[in-house]
Protein backbone atom coordinates (compact mmCIF):
# COMPACT_ATOMS: atom_id res chain seq x y z
CA UNK A 1 0.00 0.00 0.00
CA UNK A 2 1.56 3.24 -1.08
CA UNK A 3 -0.04 6.57 -0.41
CA UNK A 4 1.04 10.02 -1.46
CA UNK A 5 0.75 11.50 1.99
CA UNK A 6 4.18 11.57 3.68
CA UNK A 7 2.59 11.44 7.13
CA UNK A 8 0.73 8.22 6.32
CA UNK A 9 3.92 6.77 4.90
CA UNK A 10 5.80 7.77 8.04
CA UNK A 11 3.22 6.18 10.33
CA UNK A 12 3.29 3.08 8.19
CA UNK A 13 7.08 2.95 8.40
CA UNK A 14 7.08 3.46 12.16
CA UNK A 15 4.48 0.74 12.59
CA UNK A 16 6.61 -1.91 10.95
CA UNK A 17 8.19 -3.85 13.82
CA UNK A 18 11.08 -4.89 11.59
CA UNK A 19 12.12 -1.25 11.22
CA UNK A 20 12.61 -1.17 14.98
CA UNK A 21 14.36 -4.45 15.65
CA UNK A 22 16.40 -5.03 12.48
CA UNK A 23 20.16 -4.63 12.73
CA UNK A 24 20.59 -0.93 12.04
CA UNK A 25 16.95 -0.42 12.97
CA UNK A 26 15.52 2.28 15.19
CA UNK A 27 16.56 0.66 18.48
CA UNK A 28 20.15 0.17 17.32
CA UNK A 29 20.34 3.73 16.05
CA UNK A 30 18.81 5.11 19.22
CA UNK A 31 21.43 3.31 21.29
CA UNK A 32 24.22 4.63 19.08
CA UNK A 33 22.78 8.12 19.19
CA UNK A 34 22.60 8.19 22.97
CA UNK A 35 26.01 6.64 23.39
CA UNK A 36 27.75 9.06 21.03
CA UNK A 37 25.99 12.03 22.62
CA UNK A 38 26.77 10.97 26.17
CA UNK A 39 30.44 10.42 25.35
CA UNK A 40 30.68 13.78 23.58
CA UNK A 41 29.05 15.69 26.44
CA UNK A 42 31.25 13.91 28.98
CA UNK A 43 34.35 14.77 26.99
CA UNK A 44 33.16 18.38 26.68
CA UNK A 45 32.63 18.60 30.45
CA UNK A 46 36.05 17.19 31.23
CA UNK A 47 37.65 19.82 29.03
CA UNK A 48 35.42 22.85 29.53
CA UNK A 49 34.48 22.85 33.20
CA UNK A 50 37.98 22.96 34.72
CA UNK A 51 39.11 25.62 32.22
CA UNK A 52 35.96 27.70 32.65
CA UNK A 53 36.05 27.55 36.41
CA UNK A 54 39.75 28.34 36.52
CA UNK A 55 39.27 31.35 34.23
CA UNK A 56 36.37 32.47 36.40
CA UNK A 57 38.39 31.93 39.54
CA UNK A 58 41.28 34.05 38.32
CA UNK A 59 38.89 36.53 36.71
CA UNK A 60 40.75 36.52 33.42
CA UNK A 61 39.87 35.28 29.98
CA UNK A 62 36.33 36.63 29.59
CA UNK A 63 37.23 37.79 26.11
CA UNK A 64 38.66 34.39 25.22
CA UNK A 65 35.44 32.67 26.29
CA UNK A 66 33.38 34.90 24.00
CA UNK A 67 35.83 34.45 21.14
CA UNK A 68 35.72 30.65 21.42
CA UNK A 69 31.92 30.67 21.45
CA UNK A 70 31.71 32.87 18.37
CA UNK A 71 34.30 30.88 16.46
CA UNK A 72 32.66 27.50 17.12
CA UNK A 73 29.34 28.95 16.02
CA UNK A 74 30.88 29.68 12.63
CA UNK A 75 32.39 26.22 12.04
CA UNK A 76 30.00 23.99 10.13
CA UNK A 77 29.43 20.70 11.93
CA UNK A 78 29.78 18.87 8.66
CA UNK A 79 33.23 20.32 8.09
CA UNK A 80 34.46 19.06 11.46
CA UNK A 81 32.77 15.70 10.95
CA UNK A 82 34.52 15.23 7.62
CA UNK A 83 37.90 16.65 8.59
CA UNK A 84 38.45 14.80 11.87
CA UNK A 85 38.24 11.26 10.42
CA UNK A 86 41.08 12.19 8.07
CA UNK A 87 43.37 13.05 10.97
CA UNK A 88 45.04 10.62 13.35
CA UNK A 89 41.65 9.88 14.95
CA UNK A 90 40.72 7.65 12.04
CA UNK A 91 37.22 6.57 11.11
CA UNK A 92 34.46 5.29 13.32
CA UNK A 93 33.04 6.75 16.51
CA UNK A 94 36.04 8.65 17.97
CA UNK A 95 36.11 11.52 15.42
CA UNK A 96 32.34 11.91 15.67
CA UNK A 97 32.53 12.14 19.45
CA UNK A 98 35.36 14.66 19.33
CA UNK A 99 33.52 16.77 16.72
CA UNK A 100 30.37 16.86 18.83
CA UNK A 101 32.39 17.63 21.96
CA UNK A 102 33.76 20.72 20.20
CA UNK A 103 30.21 22.01 19.92
CA UNK A 104 29.46 21.18 23.54
CA UNK A 105 32.41 23.19 24.85
CA UNK A 106 31.16 26.80 24.39
CA UNK A 107 27.98 26.59 26.49
CA UNK A 108 29.79 24.53 29.15
CA UNK A 109 32.74 26.90 29.23
CA UNK A 110 30.66 30.08 29.20
CA UNK A 111 28.39 28.90 31.99
CA UNK A 112 31.24 27.62 34.17
CA UNK A 113 32.96 30.98 33.73
CA UNK A 114 29.84 33.06 34.43
CA UNK A 115 28.88 30.77 37.28
CA UNK A 116 32.11 31.38 39.14
CA UNK A 117 32.24 35.06 38.13
CA UNK A 118 28.75 35.84 39.37
CA UNK A 119 29.35 34.57 42.89
CA UNK A 120 28.93 37.26 45.50
CA UNK A 121 32.44 38.66 46.13
CA UNK A 122 31.63 38.81 49.84
CA UNK A 123 31.23 35.03 49.97
CA UNK A 124 34.66 34.71 48.40
CA UNK A 125 36.17 37.26 50.78
CA UNK A 126 34.60 35.52 53.76
CA UNK A 127 36.11 32.22 52.67
CA UNK A 128 39.49 33.87 52.26
CA UNK A 129 39.14 35.47 55.68
CA UNK A 130 38.51 32.06 57.17
CA UNK A 131 41.93 31.12 55.90
CA UNK A 132 41.02 28.98 52.91
CA UNK A 133 43.61 28.76 50.18
CA UNK A 134 42.81 29.67 46.59
CA UNK A 135 42.29 26.02 45.71
CA UNK A 136 40.03 25.51 48.72
CA UNK A 137 37.99 28.60 47.83
CA UNK A 138 37.54 27.16 44.35
CA UNK A 139 36.48 23.68 45.44
CA UNK A 140 34.54 24.43 48.63
CA UNK A 141 32.87 27.75 47.84
CA UNK A 142 32.92 28.56 44.16
CA UNK A 143 32.22 25.07 42.83
CA UNK A 144 29.08 24.44 44.91
CA UNK A 145 27.75 27.93 44.26
CA UNK A 146 28.30 27.57 40.53
CA UNK A 147 26.35 24.30 40.30
CA UNK A 148 23.14 25.91 38.96
CA UNK A 149 25.12 27.51 36.14
CA UNK A 150 26.97 24.29 35.43
CA UNK A 151 23.61 22.53 35.22
CA UNK A 152 22.24 25.16 32.84
CA UNK A 153 25.31 24.84 30.64
CA UNK A 154 25.08 21.07 30.75
CA UNK A 155 21.49 21.21 29.58
CA UNK A 156 22.24 23.54 26.69
CA UNK A 157 25.26 21.49 25.67
CA UNK A 158 23.51 18.15 25.93
CA UNK A 159 20.52 19.24 23.87
CA UNK A 160 22.79 20.78 21.28
CA UNK A 161 24.87 17.61 21.05
CA UNK A 162 21.84 15.31 20.80
CA UNK A 163 20.49 17.53 18.02
CA UNK A 164 23.83 17.78 16.22
CA UNK A 165 24.55 14.05 16.56
CA UNK A 166 21.94 13.55 13.83
CA UNK A 167 24.51 14.95 11.41
CA UNK A 168 26.95 12.14 12.18
CA UNK A 169 25.08 10.19 9.51
CA UNK A 170 26.85 12.28 6.87
CA UNK A 171 30.02 10.34 7.57
CA UNK A 172 28.29 7.07 8.46
CA UNK A 173 28.87 7.79 12.12
CA UNK A 174 25.65 6.13 13.17
CA UNK A 175 22.81 7.54 15.21
CA UNK A 176 19.22 8.31 14.35
CA UNK A 177 20.26 10.64 11.54
CA UNK A 178 21.24 7.54 9.62
CA UNK A 179 17.52 6.75 9.17
CA UNK A 180 16.96 10.14 7.55
CA UNK A 181 20.04 9.87 5.33
CA UNK A 182 18.99 6.40 4.22
CA UNK A 183 15.58 7.83 3.35
CA UNK A 184 17.11 10.60 1.27
CA UNK A 185 19.26 7.96 -0.39
CA UNK A 186 16.13 6.07 -1.47
CA UNK A 187 14.71 9.17 -3.11
CA UNK A 188 11.63 11.09 -2.12
CA UNK A 189 9.08 8.79 -3.75
CA UNK A 190 10.18 5.67 -1.86
CA UNK A 191 11.93 7.14 1.16
CA UNK A 192 9.62 10.09 1.89
CA UNK A 193 7.89 8.31 4.74
CA UNK A 194 11.16 7.09 6.20
CA UNK A 195 12.67 10.60 6.01
CA UNK A 196 9.75 12.03 7.91
CA UNK A 197 9.71 9.15 10.40
CA UNK A 198 13.41 9.66 11.09
CA UNK A 199 12.85 13.39 11.50
CA UNK A 200 10.06 12.75 13.99
CA UNK A 201 12.23 10.35 15.99
CA UNK A 202 15.20 12.72 16.14
CA UNK A 203 13.02 15.69 17.05
CA UNK A 204 11.20 13.72 19.73
CA UNK A 205 14.48 12.59 21.25
CA UNK A 206 15.80 16.16 21.32
CA UNK A 207 12.64 17.48 22.96
CA UNK A 208 12.63 14.58 25.42
CA UNK A 209 16.24 15.22 26.46
CA UNK A 210 15.52 18.96 26.69
CA UNK A 211 12.58 18.50 29.05
CA UNK A 212 14.30 15.80 31.14
CA UNK A 213 17.34 18.01 31.65
CA UNK A 214 15.15 21.03 32.38
CA UNK A 215 13.79 19.07 35.34
CA UNK A 216 17.31 18.16 36.45
CA UNK A 217 18.42 21.76 36.15
CA UNK A 218 15.47 22.86 38.27
CA UNK A 219 16.20 20.21 40.86
CA UNK A 220 19.81 21.28 41.40
CA UNK A 221 19.06 25.02 41.40
CA UNK A 222 18.41 26.37 44.90
CA UNK A 223 14.91 27.79 45.24
CA UNK A 224 15.81 31.50 45.54
CA UNK A 225 17.82 31.38 42.30
CA UNK A 226 15.16 29.71 40.20
CA UNK A 227 13.54 32.85 38.85
CA UNK A 228 16.83 34.36 37.73
CA UNK A 229 17.33 34.35 33.97
CA UNK A 230 19.66 31.75 32.58
CA UNK A 231 22.91 33.39 31.74
CA UNK A 232 25.28 32.85 28.89
CA UNK A 233 23.52 30.63 26.42
CA UNK A 234 25.99 30.06 23.69
Amino acid sequence: MTSDNPIQQAVLWLNDPLNWTNPGGILDRLGEHLWISAAAVALGCVVAWPIGMWLGHTGRGGGAVVLISNLTLAIPTIALLTILPLTFLGFGKPPVIVALAVFAVPPLLANAYTGVRSIDPEARDAARGMGLSGWQVLTRVELPLAVPYLAAGFRTAAVQVVATAALASFVNGGGLGQIISAGFGLGIAVGGGQILAGGILVALLALLVESALALVERAVTPRPLRRAPRAARA
Binding site: L73, P76, T77, I78, A79, A165, F170, I180, F184, L207
Partner: protein
Protein backbone atom coordinates in the same frame (compact mmCIF):
# COMPACT_ATOMS: atom_id res chain seq x y z
CA UNK B 1 39.16 -1.20 7.77
CA UNK B 2 39.56 -0.93 4.07
CA UNK B 3 39.64 2.81 3.77
CA UNK B 4 42.41 3.20 6.27
CA UNK B 5 44.75 2.42 3.42
CA UNK B 6 43.58 5.44 1.52
CA UNK B 7 44.45 7.47 4.56
CA UNK B 8 48.16 6.94 4.41
CA UNK B 9 49.72 10.35 4.09
CA UNK B 10 50.21 10.45 0.38
CA UNK B 11 51.99 13.42 -1.14
CA UNK B 12 49.16 13.62 -3.67
CA UNK B 13 46.58 14.58 -1.06
CA UNK B 14 47.70 17.68 0.84
CA UNK B 15 45.34 19.60 3.15
CA UNK B 16 45.60 22.65 1.01
CA UNK B 17 46.54 23.15 -2.57
CA UNK B 18 46.52 26.28 -4.70
CA UNK B 19 46.47 23.99 -7.66
CA UNK B 20 43.02 22.77 -6.63
CA UNK B 21 41.74 26.28 -5.96
CA UNK B 22 43.01 27.52 -9.32
CA UNK B 23 41.69 24.59 -11.30
CA UNK B 24 38.27 24.62 -9.70
CA UNK B 25 37.69 28.31 -9.18
CA UNK B 26 34.41 28.15 -11.12
CA UNK B 27 32.98 25.40 -8.93
CA UNK B 28 34.19 27.08 -5.76
CA UNK B 29 32.76 30.45 -6.71
CA UNK B 30 29.44 28.88 -7.68
CA UNK B 31 29.30 27.11 -4.31
CA UNK B 32 30.22 30.33 -2.51
CA UNK B 33 27.53 32.22 -4.40
CA UNK B 34 24.93 29.60 -3.55
CA UNK B 35 26.02 29.63 0.08
CA UNK B 36 25.90 33.41 0.37
CA UNK B 37 22.56 33.62 -1.44
CA UNK B 38 20.92 30.98 0.74
CA UNK B 39 22.26 32.65 3.88
CA UNK B 40 21.14 36.13 2.83
CA UNK B 41 17.69 34.95 1.78
CA UNK B 42 17.20 32.95 4.96
CA UNK B 43 18.28 35.75 7.27
CA UNK B 44 16.24 38.32 5.33
CA UNK B 45 13.04 36.25 5.40
CA UNK B 46 13.61 35.33 9.05
CA UNK B 47 14.04 39.02 9.90
CA UNK B 48 10.84 39.96 8.08
CA UNK B 49 8.98 37.38 10.17
CA UNK B 50 10.86 37.71 13.44
CA UNK B 51 10.83 41.48 13.97
CA UNK B 52 7.02 41.79 13.64
CA UNK B 53 6.71 38.75 15.93
CA UNK B 54 8.92 40.45 18.49
CA UNK B 55 6.84 43.62 18.22
CA UNK B 56 3.65 41.61 18.75
CA UNK B 57 5.23 39.93 21.79
CA UNK B 58 6.32 43.38 23.03
CA UNK B 59 2.87 44.91 22.69
CA UNK B 60 0.87 41.99 24.00
CA UNK B 61 2.67 40.60 27.03
CA UNK B 62 0.63 37.39 27.31
CA UNK B 63 1.89 36.37 23.87
CA UNK B 64 5.57 36.66 24.85
CA UNK B 65 5.70 33.23 26.47
CA UNK B 66 4.08 31.28 23.63
CA UNK B 67 6.08 33.05 20.90
CA UNK B 68 9.38 32.43 22.66
CA UNK B 69 8.40 28.85 23.49
CA UNK B 70 7.39 28.09 19.91
CA UNK B 71 10.62 29.41 18.44
CA UNK B 72 12.53 27.68 21.24
CA UNK B 73 11.01 24.32 20.32
CA UNK B 74 11.87 24.92 16.66
CA UNK B 75 15.45 25.57 17.71
CA UNK B 76 15.65 22.37 19.74
CA UNK B 77 14.63 20.25 16.76
CA UNK B 78 17.79 19.07 15.02
CA UNK B 79 18.55 20.76 11.71
CA UNK B 80 18.55 17.45 9.90
CA UNK B 81 15.12 16.58 11.32
CA UNK B 82 13.79 19.98 10.26
CA UNK B 83 15.03 19.30 6.75
CA UNK B 84 13.35 15.89 6.98
CA UNK B 85 10.05 17.54 7.91
CA UNK B 86 10.20 20.06 5.11
CA UNK B 87 11.68 18.01 2.27
CA UNK B 88 8.89 15.44 1.73
CA UNK B 89 6.44 18.30 1.18
CA UNK B 90 8.53 20.81 -0.72
CA UNK B 91 10.58 18.25 -2.60
CA UNK B 92 14.20 17.19 -2.35
CA UNK B 93 15.14 18.72 -5.66
CA UNK B 94 14.13 22.13 -4.43
CA UNK B 95 16.48 24.59 -2.70
CA UNK B 96 13.39 25.98 -0.96
CA UNK B 97 13.52 22.94 1.37
CA UNK B 98 16.87 24.09 2.71
CA UNK B 99 15.73 27.69 2.80
CA UNK B 100 12.62 26.97 4.88
CA UNK B 101 14.62 24.93 7.40
CA UNK B 102 17.19 27.74 7.66
CA UNK B 103 14.52 30.40 8.18
CA UNK B 104 12.92 28.42 11.00
CA UNK B 105 16.31 28.18 12.66
CA UNK B 106 17.23 31.83 12.36
CA UNK B 107 13.83 32.89 13.74
CA UNK B 108 14.51 32.18 17.39
CA UNK B 109 17.79 34.07 17.59
CA UNK B 110 16.31 37.17 15.98
CA UNK B 111 13.02 37.12 17.91
CA UNK B 112 14.77 36.65 21.23
CA UNK B 113 17.27 39.43 20.70
CA UNK B 114 14.78 41.84 19.14
CA UNK B 115 12.46 41.32 22.09
CA UNK B 116 15.29 41.86 24.55
CA UNK B 117 16.20 45.04 22.68
CA UNK B 118 12.63 46.32 22.73
CA UNK B 119 12.28 45.55 26.42
CA UNK B 120 15.40 47.56 27.14
CA UNK B 121 13.89 50.77 25.77
CA UNK B 122 14.02 53.11 28.78
CA UNK B 123 10.65 53.86 30.37
CA UNK B 124 11.51 57.60 30.27
CA UNK B 125 11.93 57.51 26.50
CA UNK B 126 8.58 55.80 26.15
CA UNK B 127 6.88 58.28 28.47
CA UNK B 128 8.44 61.21 26.66
CA UNK B 129 7.20 59.86 23.33
CA UNK B 130 3.76 59.41 24.81
CA UNK B 131 3.85 63.01 26.09
CA UNK B 132 4.86 64.28 22.68
CA UNK B 133 1.70 62.75 21.29
CA UNK B 134 3.13 59.76 19.46
CA UNK B 135 0.65 57.00 18.82
CA UNK B 136 1.45 53.34 19.08
CA UNK B 137 2.85 53.11 15.55
CA UNK B 138 4.66 56.41 15.64
CA UNK B 139 6.33 55.46 18.87
CA UNK B 140 7.28 52.06 17.49
CA UNK B 141 8.86 53.42 14.32
CA UNK B 142 10.46 56.57 15.73
CA UNK B 143 11.41 55.52 19.27
CA UNK B 144 11.18 51.83 20.09
CA UNK B 145 12.69 50.23 17.00
CA UNK B 146 15.64 52.63 16.67
CA UNK B 147 16.47 52.19 20.34
CA UNK B 148 16.14 48.42 20.01
CA UNK B 149 18.48 48.36 17.00
CA UNK B 150 21.57 47.20 18.90
CA UNK B 151 19.63 44.18 20.19
CA UNK B 152 18.21 43.44 16.76
CA UNK B 153 21.65 43.69 15.14
CA UNK B 154 23.08 41.29 17.74
CA UNK B 155 20.35 38.81 16.86
CA UNK B 156 21.03 39.27 13.15
CA UNK B 157 24.74 38.64 13.63
CA UNK B 158 24.17 35.46 15.64
CA UNK B 159 21.57 34.26 13.16
CA UNK B 160 23.83 34.98 10.18
CA UNK B 161 26.85 33.19 11.59
CA UNK B 162 24.88 30.10 12.58
CA UNK B 163 22.99 30.12 9.28
CA UNK B 164 26.27 30.09 7.35
CA UNK B 165 27.26 26.99 9.31
CA UNK B 166 23.85 25.39 8.84
CA UNK B 167 23.62 25.86 5.08
CA UNK B 168 26.11 23.00 4.80
CA UNK B 169 23.43 20.58 6.05
CA UNK B 170 21.66 21.19 2.74
CA UNK B 171 24.46 19.14 1.17
CA UNK B 172 22.37 16.07 1.93
CA UNK B 173 19.92 17.09 -0.78
CA UNK B 174 22.52 18.80 -2.95
CA UNK B 175 21.86 22.43 -2.03
CA UNK B 176 24.51 22.97 0.57
CA UNK B 177 26.65 25.63 -1.06
CA UNK B 178 30.15 25.15 0.29
CA UNK B 179 28.83 22.10 2.17
CA UNK B 180 28.55 20.40 -1.22
CA UNK B 181 32.29 20.93 -1.70
CA UNK B 182 32.97 19.38 1.71
CA UNK B 183 30.77 16.36 1.05
CA UNK B 184 32.01 15.83 -2.52
CA UNK B 185 35.56 15.93 -1.25
CA UNK B 186 34.70 13.41 1.43
CA UNK B 187 33.00 11.00 -0.94
CA UNK B 188 35.62 11.60 -3.60
CA UNK B 189 38.28 9.45 -1.96
CA UNK B 190 38.76 12.00 0.84
CA UNK B 191 40.10 14.82 -1.25
CA UNK B 192 41.43 16.93 1.61
CA UNK B 193 42.06 20.11 -0.36
CA UNK B 194 38.43 20.29 -1.42
CA UNK B 195 37.14 19.61 2.10
CA UNK B 196 39.37 22.16 3.74
CA UNK B 197 38.74 24.81 1.10
CA UNK B 198 35.01 24.43 1.67
CA UNK B 199 35.37 24.56 5.45
CA UNK B 200 37.75 27.52 5.50
CA UNK B 201 35.57 29.47 3.12
CA UNK B 202 32.53 28.77 5.31
CA UNK B 203 34.23 30.17 8.37
CA UNK B 204 35.61 33.07 6.30
CA UNK B 205 32.17 33.88 4.90
CA UNK B 206 30.69 33.83 8.40
CA UNK B 207 33.35 36.18 9.73
CA UNK B 208 33.01 38.57 6.77
CA UNK B 209 29.21 38.72 7.02
CA UNK B 210 29.48 39.19 10.79
CA UNK B 211 31.89 42.08 10.27
CA UNK B 212 29.62 43.67 7.66
CA UNK B 213 26.61 43.47 9.95
CA UNK B 214 28.59 44.80 12.90
CA UNK B 215 29.72 47.78 10.82
CA UNK B 216 26.22 48.46 9.53
CA UNK B 217 24.93 48.24 13.09
CA UNK B 218 27.53 50.76 14.26
CA UNK B 219 26.70 53.16 11.45
CA UNK B 220 22.97 52.90 12.16
CA UNK B 221 23.30 53.58 15.88
CA UNK B 222 25.72 56.50 16.18
CA UNK B 223 24.33 57.40 19.61
CA UNK B 224 25.65 54.22 21.20
CA UNK B 225 29.21 55.31 20.53
CA UNK B 226 28.94 58.47 22.58
CA UNK B 227 29.37 58.23 26.31
CA UNK B 228 29.99 55.04 28.24
CA UNK B 229 28.17 52.07 26.78
Amino acid sequence: MSFRLALQESPGNPWFSWQYVRDNSDTILAALREHATLTAEAVLIATLIAVPLAVVAYWFRPLTGPILALSGVLYTIPSLALLAFVAPYVGTTNPASVLIALVLYALLLIVRNALAGLNQVPAEARDAAQGMGYGRWGRLLRIDLPLALPGIVTGLRLATVSTVALVTVGALIGYGGLGDLIMTGFRNNFYKAEILTGAVMCVGLALVLDLVLATVGRLLTPWTRRGPA
